[in-house]
C-alpha cells in the first residue's frame, strides 16, 4: 500500500475518533405520562469505548437504549450519533444494532438467515453475505449450526445468534440490553470474555 494513502486513512480515522463521539446525549429527558424515565441525561461515548449503564430495574436503562436505537423519542434534549442529530432518523436507517434482552430472534428463519437479515436489507451481494455469516458465526462459536432453527438452540446459543446478527452489520454502536442477564454463571463469564474481544471493533453501549 502507498504510504500517503495509509497515512490519510489513519488521519481520518483518528479525527473521527477524537472529534465525533459515537454517541452524545444533550440534556435528554424522557417522560411516560407523569413518570420521568430518564432525566436530563448528558453523556458522551467515544468510538471503541465499552460503556455500561448500571442500576436497579425500572431506572431507565432500557429506555435510554431504545432512544439510541430509535424506538423512543426523547421528550426533551437531543441525541447525536457520530456527530449527527438523529431525531428525524427512523430505526432502520440508524447505524446502530441492538441485542435484545429477549433475543427477539426470527423463529421462522434458521440461524444463517437470522444473521443475514441485516445484510440482505442493505443489498450486500450474496457471496459477500455468505462469507460474513461464516465470520460472524465463527466469532460467536456457532459454526456448524447455520441451519438450526432458533427453537432448537439453548438460551446461550440464542443470545450468541442475536449477537452475531447485530455484529455482522458492523454498526457504529452496538447496544446490549441486559446482555448477560439470562445466562448462567459459566456462560456469563465466557460471554464477558467474548464481548471484550469483540468490543475492540465497535463502539458499544451496554446495559447490565
Amino acid at each position: 500500500m502507498e504510504p500517503t494513502t495509509g497515512a490519510r486513512a489513519a488521519v481520518t480515522e483518528g479525527r473521527a475518533g477524537a472529534a465525533e463521539p459515537a454517541i452524545r446525549f444533550d440534556g435528554v429527558t424522557k417522560r411516560f405520562g407523569d413518570t420521568e424515565a430518564v432525566k436530563d441525561m448528558g453523556i458522551e461515548i467515544r468510538r471503541g469505548e465499552f460503556f455500561s449503564l448500571l442500576g436497579p430495574s425500572g431506572c431507565g436503562k432500557t429506555t435510554t437504549l431504545r432512544m439510541v436505537a430509535g424506538f423512543e423519542q426523547p421528550s426533551e434534549g437531543r441525541i447525536f450519533l457520530e456527530g449527527k442529530p438523529v431525531e428525524a432518523v427512523p430505526p432502520y436507517r440508524r447505524n446502530v444494532n441492538t441485542v435484545f434482552q429477549s433475543y427477539a430472534l426470527f423463529e421462522h428463519l434458521d440461524v444463517a438467515d437470522n444473521v443475514a437479515f441485516g445484510q440482505q436489507r442493505k443489498k450486500v451481494p450474496k457471496a459477500e453475505i455468505k462469507t460474513r455469516i461464516a465470520e460472524a458465526l465463527e466469532l460467536v462459536q456457532l459454526t456448524g449450526r447455520e441451519h438450526a432453527k432458533p427453537r432448537e438452540l439453548s438460551g446461550g446459543q440464542m443470545q450468541r445468534v442475536a449477537l452475531a446478527r447485530a455484529l455482522i452489520n458492523r454498526p457504529a454502536v452496538l447496544l446490549l440490553d441486559e446482555p448477560l442477564g439470562a445466562l448462567d454463571l459459566k456462560l456469563r463469564k465466557q460471554m464477558q470474555v467474548e464481548l471484550k474481544q469483540i468490543q475492540r471493533e465497535v463502539g458499544s453501549l451496554s446495559s447490565t
Binding site: 424506538f71 432502520y92 436507517r93 434482552q101 427477539a104 421462522h108 437479515f117 447485530a166
Partner: protein, 296 residues
C-alpha cells in the same frame, strides 16, 4: 397409611407413583361413565352423516332400504342446472368471503394489537358483537338494512353480510397469534434495517401465516354451508346451495339431497384438513419461496 394419605392430601391430585405405592390407583381422574358419553356423542354425531352418505349411493329412491350401489343421484345433481348453479354460487360466496374477511380481519387484528388507537377499546367490544349476536338477528337486520337502502338482494348482499360477520373470527384467531409474537421481534427487524413494510412482509406475516391460513379456511367452511344469513340476504336466482336444498326439501326429500349433502361435507372436510395440514406442509424452508417470491 393414614399419615401418608394426609401428606398426599395436600396436593390437589396425589401423584400417581405415591398412589400406586400405598393403594391401588383410584380412577377418580377419569370416571368410567365418561366412556359412554363419548360413545353416545359419536353415535349421535356420526350416525346421521354415515346414513346420509350411505343412501346417497343407493340405487333406488328408498330412504329406508339400501338396494344396491349406484351413482345416479350424483348424476342427477350434476345434471340439474339450478342445483349446479347453486353449488357454484356457494363456492363463489365462500371464496370471496374468505379472501375479503381474511384481509380485513388480519388488518384489524394488527391495528388492535400494535397501535395505540384511540378507539381501540371500543373497537374491541364492537368486534365481539358479531360473535355473540344470534345469527337470526344478524340475518333479519341485514335484510332490513338492504331493503331500507334499496339494495337489490343478490349474491353480493349475501357476501356483504357474511364478510361482515366473518371478520371477527379472523381477528380473534390472528390476534391471539400476534399477541404471542412479541413486539421486540418486529423492532429487531427494523433495528436491522427493515422498513415497516419489509418488517410486515418478511417477519410479521410469515410468523402469522399459520393463523391466517387457519382463519381463512375456517371462514370458508363456515361461509360455504351457512344457511341463516344466506336465507335472509339472498335473491331468487341463483341461491346459495343450503338455501336451495331447504326450498327443495319442502317438496319432499329425494336422495339427490343426500348426494349434495355428502359432497358438501367432503368440501368442508377437505377445507378443515387443509387448515390442519397446510401450515405443517409448508412450514419449512420452501414456504418463503412460495409465499414471498424469495429464494429460500
Amino acid at each position: 397409611m393414614s399419615i401418608a394419605r394426609g401428606q398426599a392430601g395436600r396436593l390437589p391430585f396425589p401423584r400417581r407413583r405415591e398412589a400406586s405405592r400405598s393403594a391401588p390407583p383410584r380412577e377418580f381422574d377419569r370416571p368410567r361413565f365418561l366412556k359412554w358419553f363419548l360413545v353416545a356423542f359419536l353415535v349421535f354425531t356420526l350416525a346421521p352423516i354415515v346414513i346420509v352418505a350411505l343412501f346417497s349411493f343407493n340405487s333406488s329412491k328408498s330412504l329406508q332400504n339400501f338396494d344396491g350401489f349406484s351413482l345416479q343421484w350424483y348424476r342427477d345433481f350434476l345434471n340439474d342446472t339450478q342445483l349446479r348453479e347453486s353449488l357454484f354460487a356457494s363456492l363463489e360466496i365462500a371464496l370471496v368471503t374468505m379472501i375479503v374477511a381474511t384481509i380485513l380481519g388480519t388488518m384489524l387484528a394488527y391495528g388492535l394489537v400494535r397501535t395505540r388507537a384511540r378507539f381501540g377499546g371500543g373497537v374491541n367490544v364492537l368486534m365481539l358483537i358479531p360473535l355473540v349476536t344470534p345469527e337470526i338477528v344478524a340475518g333479519v337486520s341485514a335484510l332490513l338494512l338492504f331493503t331500507q337502502i334499496g339494495m337489490q338482494l343478490s349474491l353480493a348482499t349475501v357476501m356483504i353480510a357474511q364478510i361482515t360477520f366473518s371478520i371477527s373470527y379472523v381477528t380473534v384467531v390472528v390476534r391471539a397469534r400476534l399477541a404471542g409474537l412479541g413486539r421486540d421481534v418486529e423492532e429487531a427487524a427494523m433495528d436491522l434495517g427493515a422498513t415497516r413494510l419489509q418488517t410486515l412482509r418478511l417477519i410479521t406475516l410469515p410468523a402469522l401465516w399459520p393463523a391466517i391460513v387457519a382463519a381463512a379456511l375456517l371462514v370458508f367452511a363456515l361461509s360455504f354451508d351457512d344457511f341463516v344469513l344466506s336465507f335472509f340476504t339472498t335473491g331468487t336466482s341463483p341461491q346459495p346451495l343450503p338455501v336451495r336444498i331447504y326450498s327443495s326439501i319442502r317438496f319432499g326429500v329425494t336422495p339427490t339431497i343426500n348426494a349434495i349433502g355428502t359432497l358438501m361435507m367432503l368440501i368442508s372436510l377437505a377445507t378443515i384438513a387443509l387448515a390442519v395440514a397446510l401450515p405443517r406442509l409448508v412450514g419449512r424452508r420452501e414456504y418463503r419461496a412460495v409465499l414471498l417470491g424469495e429464494e429460500a
